[in-house]
Symmetry: C2
Amino acid sequence: MSIRIGILGYGNLGRGVECAVKNNPDMELVAVFTRRNPDTVKILTENVPVYSVEEAPSKKDDIDVLILCGGSATDLPAQTPEYAKYFNVVDSFDTHAKIPEHFANVDKVAKENGNIGIISVGWDPGMFSISRMYGNAILNNGNDYTFWGKGVSQGHSDAIRRIEGVKDAKQYTIPVESALEAVRSGANPTLTTREKHTRECFVVAEDGADLERIEKEIKTMPNYFDQYDTTVYFISEEELKRDHSGIPHGGFVIRTGKTGWNNENNHVIEYSLKLDSNPEFTASVIVAYARAAFKMSKEGMSGCKTVFDVAPAYLSPQDGAELRAKFL
Amino acid sequence: MSIRIGILGYGNLGRGVECAVKNNPDMELVAVFTRRNPDTVKILTENVPVYSVEEAPSKKDDIDVLILCGGSATDLPAQTPEYAKYFNVVDSFDTHAKIPEHFANVDKVAKENGNIGIISVGWDPGMFSISRMYGNAILNNGNDYTFWGKGVSQGHSDAIRRIEGVKDAKQYTIPVESALEAVRSGANPTLTTREKHTRECFVVAEDGADLERIEKEIKTMPNYFDQYDTTVYFISEEELKRDHSGIPHGGFVIRTGKTGWNNENNHVIEYSLKLDSNPEFTASVIVAYARAAFKMSKEGMSGCKTVFDVAPAYLSPQDGAELRAKFL
């Protein structure tokens, strides 16, 4: 019997979840819920209904795990606790400062209703968090480094698009190779923001716009760009579409640390991702945790969980004996 | 209150565990057990007793987790089930074909006595296994690659030492950089044994030994060397001691896979280790899992576990709220 998955919110992430469910034979997509008019939402999977969000609670017996694909700013803080009343849920909440509050809200509702809610799932937060945590537990005498990229930052691209005279833009975050090498060497460098990442901006300007002013506004934008070495390229709309329509991302989590009676030995643990599609990879992680939510719920567990609380075996469709034979 | 650790077997791994316990303030070494005459075993920690193994059962109330530092060939198959009668135990059993049997033996005894036994802990099996498992659960449509090195293989060094006319030797396993690059590119190459690793041997010969014969015996040794491109260097005893006395190791676990409605997007997940001291790093992993065994036992769990069955949070001395704040 398949794990019956529902998707709430059908943007890039929702479509990624749809693809990941198709790629996992033990799962089946049974419904998509949208805040738009359901008649206007065309999904990829044949013969799966699209409903208005209002109908979600009435489908609670037809869905094993509801995957929440909304944004962290306003959607998930309301949606995850709301739908944890009816479903096992998984979200990708990534507003770091508000995780304690979100965890508490989801935990209360999920426990009251005997459901599992796994929050902040994806790659950062998510797989990168696990790497940081394992690294710290193993090498407790050491240093942490996280680098992002090369990849598209949606937030930075949006910030450029809000500048007057900008028609469209894509921003890439790029880790500085020499900083990465210094970290890998075990030298434990102290790195400033500027030393860790550079930013590249591909900008389509309106006809007749003041390019010099746009470039200056980008490079001096507080927090977003002023602390970075930023390069701005003005390109045509055609070039943007042709060369920059993907959503790649990735990054590196490095833990360096010392062992030995006199801390005489150095070790480097590195976890890295190189992703063609940020939302599709995030969705693939989420779908594995949806399987975990299903299995944990079947075992009678409930409440809010993060990736730290989920034993690796729960993510897999294979049983313990198979996992030990194949991967140990 | 500290977690009280016992060590059984005081070789390279036992000493590594001793160092790791010193580096973890929530732990305390309370006893070392040896099969040798305890009076002849000098340990690094002051005021900690060394006992004969026969005395171990009588110390069951003084020790929270007993770490078994014997070998996989003959020690652990007997020791882990035996001491799981009295203690929570952790071992680094690495004879892959015999893991099902070992798991079953430890599980039975550990359950009967209400203890936790975590087996096959270290980096491979251990952290590499976790990386393979997570990678497969996330990208179920993909390929696995594990490379080892650059590092010292004890088994291969021993095999060279058994050749007539060889006084001492160190063997390094080295991943082939171009193979690594091909894997990272997402090309999903099919690689032969020879294409993945090379072997470098540093050999001290007896006076007057036939070097040509030794080199030929090494390079043609079935399984150990005949399937690899092997280089043999004859050096002096002084050079071996000066340049090759460390026990470095490491390696790479890479999972490549595809996502998307038509498998149009490629992803690469890479986990790598660069270790100055193989036994000290292994010991650091084991000690983190000893903490997990202690915490799981306190929660009333029992039986045999592997790294797949242990939620990451159990490895850390920090509680859930701290972990979420610091690492998520």
